[in-house]
């Protein structure tokens, strides 16, 4: 093979720690600046929401409420982080609610059967990764539409959950488990997952290649990117994130519910990245935007609650927000006709 470089090659950077540090700090600043520039509209929207709700209700600006908002946002964030990557590849995963329920139920059942906490929790995570990998595989190798493939998985996993649980929740979980996923741990997991993913997306080749798949799969293939393996990995990661979200839900209820993740939780995980400026067409991974999307959704939910808006109207609102966000996405990112 020929030498890899003909042109360029200005003196190699030495990769010592001391020289790297300023570079790392500088790149962090640049990233933050870019995130700010891309998401100032979202920050503004959030500020306006907070302003409106604090005017509408005197109880809104209160540490308890704010803590609740942050916890709810973090819970959504766990799944939305994974979803951001799935959407970046141009795909979608509608099975996460069911994956969340099944893995939590399996882990809880194992614990109740006397399995130590760590292996039981790991088994659930493994199951989630497996479900995701399965999704990714049939999408990649059988060329199925992501939506319909994960829809089948939704039904399978939900059914499996009902069968295992017999329809009733699994109670009395070990303290060691619940305390590891409760309260402030939700925020730790949510933010930790987000930061880790940001590092991977910005500091490794995976980031470029994942977005590349969503942008133009064919070009990536020609450039030697292992498209299928990468996509399977992304869906597996989404599976793991769904399980983690499930564990936090289980811990907060102190029980694994067979109906967990059935209502709008997973839809919010889908809506948050799109609100955050990611596009269904793929090719973009704005994780900071996703975080803002989660905060906006959680603020709306708490705000509407406190303002006395019934749950049913909230559901209408969230349905409307999803459609609105996607409409905006389609109208602004409509691919130019030929």
């Amino acid at each position: 093979m020929t030498d890899a470089r003909l042109i360029g090659g200005a003196g190699r950077e030495s990769s010592g720690l001391i020289t790297m540090l300023p570079a790392a700090i500088e790149s962090m600043f640049r990233l933050s600046w870019r995130a700010l520039r891309e998401s100032w509209g979202l920050i503004l929207a959030l500020a306006i929401l907070v302003l409106i709700f604090s005017q509408a209700s005197p109880y809104f600006l209160n540490t308890l409420v704010l803590e609740r908002i942050l916890t709810n946002a973090s819970f959504t964030l766990i799944m939305a982080t994974g979803m951001t990557l799935v959407i970046a590849t141009g795909g979608i995963d509608v099975s996460i609610g069911a994956t969340l329920a099944l893995s939590s139920m399996v882990a809880a059942t194992l614990m109740n059967l006397g399995t130590p906490v760590l292996p039981a929790a790991l088994a659930g995570l493994l199951l989630g990764a497996g479900i995701g990998a399965f999704n990714g595989s049939i999408i990649s190798y059988l060329k199925l539409q992501p939506f319909i493939a994960t829809l089948a998985m939704l039904s399978l996993a939900r059914g499996m959950t009902l069968i295992i649980s017999g329809g009733s929740p699994a109670f009395d979980l070990p303290e060691a488990f619940t305390s590891a996923f409760k309260d402030e741990m939700v925020m730790v997991i949510g933010l930790g997952g987000l930061l880790l993913t940001m590092v991977v997306m910005h500091r490794t080749r995976l980031g470029i290649q994942i977005r590349g798949i969503g942008g133009n799969e064919n070009t990536c293939y020609i450039c030697g990117v292992r498209v299928n393996a990468l996509r399977i990995g992304v869906y597996a990661f989404q599976g793991i994130m769904a399980v983690l979200a499930g564990y936090t839900l289980t811990a907060s209820f102190d029980a694994a519910e067979p109906t967990a993740g059935l209502s709008t939780e997973w839809l919010e995980a889908l809506a948050a990245p799109i609100i955050g400026g990611n596009t269904m067409a793929g090719g973009r991974a704005r994780l900071f935007g996703t975080l803002m999307g989660c905060l906006i959704l959680a603020t709306m939910r708490s705000g509407l609650n406190i303002s006395g808006v019934p749950t049913a109207w909230q559901q209408v609102a969230i349905g409307g927000i999803i459609v609105g966000a996607v409409t905006l996405d389609v109208l602004t990112n409509r691919k130019k006709v030929s």
Partner: protein, 510 residues
């Protein structure tokens, strides 16, 4: 000079036709080789074989002194062949630097070496005089020319011994082209070879050390580029003694003026505006629009069928101004398009041939929304008789028809819907000789029924043989009309390649 690559007796046989016949071809170290020939001369096939995209039927390739067989593009790449295809393959959603390093990203101990990649990208863009391109910009937002420069930069960055470029200058500005040439010279200085395909002969003369001419799949000329080489010599070599095929067709009565464009300006896919185009198509007339690739033929067909907007100027049908907002308007005005890409635009592959034929004439074949299948079938049988198509094909899915039969089905659709102006965009692309003759006969029958046909084609022999009147789209102007017989093959080539100016335009066609 040492040869990097030697190809000998390369043959490529497609079903029925021979694309390449015992072509010998060699490239030396540090050589810039031009490859020219008319459409269908075999240059693209030869390039695809060199790059491993297609395999020769017979013949040998020797590289760096050892025989090689390219089973696929990767194999060719591994031997040092670097291909820059005509179609720019970039990920629009990634930045310039990400595109340049896609699949070859550089990592250090702390993840991606972004600064290094950025510096390298800047360096290579500077080589191409494209400093104005921000490496952190999304490529999708760049102008077409800059995108092409990025694609070239990526290929050069990944290295190689032989750079194969298919029409790299098609979407470049004059300055960008000069920058590319500077790079080619630099590569030459490093002993790398380049193969360069272009329709622009003046560019060829400027940059190439040697120019190889292909005609009808054969190697017909090998010119060392010295001061004595001229465009005329090259055109003469491309044309040879070939004469236009005469397709037997009785010239029909020229009727009223149907479709007319009055100084219409359109934008091409590359985003350039064309010269004002004025054409007139009468009933009973086959009008040809020809020109080299990328001059805007397909775009003009799209404008006339409502798929693209008119930038400036006016369209008139029977003297009355019309606006075509979408193909629905075109159908209403009885203008029908036979698209260049049958499979992507022309056919519903899941439907039967018959259903595809009647797609736009269902209204008259149905009562209260119910398709009267007997009448549909009768129409199909009637149409089938106009062609040499077997009855059983009518019920067959379009997907399972040959290319020729698929093309007939699409043209028949226009007959069924009683289109009065037919726009035929490269109607004989990829179909065999027999089917071609059928298509020409069909066009003849159409105009005999006092319809107007506009044939958009880049095959000189086709337009010279079939058309009653010819217009030539070139990058330096819109030429014509030329009456049948006013141009011969060499004359047309001279116009297309810009070695002659329009000197024999036909009298106004009234």
């Amino acid at each position: 000079m040492k040869n990097i690559l030697t190809a000998s007796k390369i043959c490529k046989q497609y079903a029925g036709t021979r694309a390449l016949n015992e072509v010998d071809f060699e490239i030396g170290e540090g050589e810039i080789l031009g490859l020219i020939g008319e459409n269908g001369a075999g240059k693209s096939t030869l390039m695809r074989i060199l790059c491993g995209i297609e395999q020769p039927t017979s013949g040998d390739i020797v590289m760096h002194g050892k025989p090689v067989e390219f089973s696929g593009p990767q194999a060719a790449q591994a031997e040092g062949i670097a291909m820059i295809p005509q179609e720019v393959l970039l990920v629009d959603e990634l930045t310039v630097v990400e595109n340049i390093f896609l699949g070859h990203e550089e990592s250090g101990a702390f993840g991606l070496s972004k600064r290094q990649m950025l510096a390298d990208t800047r360096a290579i863009l500077a080589e191409l005089d494209s400093q104005q391109v921000d490496p952190e910009h999304l490529t999708g937002n760049l102008p077409k020319g800059s995108q092409q420069m990025v694609a070239i930069a990526r290929r050069v960055m990944q290295g190689g011994d032989v750079f194969v470029m298919d029409e790299p200058t098609a979407s470049l500005t004059g300055e960008e082209t000069q920058s590319l040439f500077k790079l080619l010279k630099k590569l030459k200085g490093e002993g790398k070879a380049s193969v360069f395909i272009s329709h622009r002969l003046e560019e060829m003369l400027e940059i190439c050390d040697r120019i190889v001419v292909l005609r009808d799949g054969e190697h017909v000329g090998n010119f060392i580029n010295d001061d004595t080489l001229t465009k005329d010599k090259l055109v003469a070599a491309m044309v040879g003694s070939a004469v236009a095929n005469e397709f037997a067709r009785t010239v029909s009565h020229i009727g009223e003026l149907m479709l007319e464009t009055d100084k219409v300006v359109i934008s091409t896919f590359q985003g350039r505006k064309t010269h004002p185009i004025s054409i007139q198509a009468h009933a009973g007339e086959v009008v040809g629009i020809t020109g080299l690739a990328g001059v805007g033929k397909t775009e003009l067909a799209h404008v006339l069928s409502g798929l693209r907007p008119v930038v400036e100027g006016e369209l008139r049908l029977r003297g009355r101004p019309i606006t075509l907002r979408s193909p629905v308007d075109a159908l209403k005005n009885k203008i029908g398009l036979v698209s260049e890409d049958r499979r992507a635009e022309g056919l519903v592959l899941e439907l039967t041939a018959l259903a595809n034929m009647t797609l736009t004439s269902l209204k008259k074949l149905s009562r209260l929304g119910r398709i009267e299948k007997d009448r549909e079938r009768q129409l199909g049988l009637l149409m089938k008789d106009k062609l040499n198509m077997r009855t059983e094909y009518l019920g067959r899915d379009a997907n399972h028809l040959s290319g020729g039969n698929q093309q007939k089905v699409v043209i028949i659709r226009q007959l069924c819907s009683e289109a009065e102006v037919l726009l035929l965009d490269e109607p004989t692309k990829g179909i065999d000789i027999g089917a071609k003759a059928e298509v020409y006969r069909l066009i003849g029958d159409l105009v005999a029924e006092q319809k107007a046909a506009i044939l958009f084609s880049s095959e000189p022999q086709e337009v010279l043989g079939v058309c009653d009147k010819l217009y030539v789209l070139t990058s330096h102007g819109f030429l014509g009309p030329y009456a049948k017989g006013a141009l011969d093959y060499a004359g047309l080539m001279a116009l297309e390649f810009g070695t002659a100016t329009s000197d024999t335009p036909m009298e106004a066609a009234e």
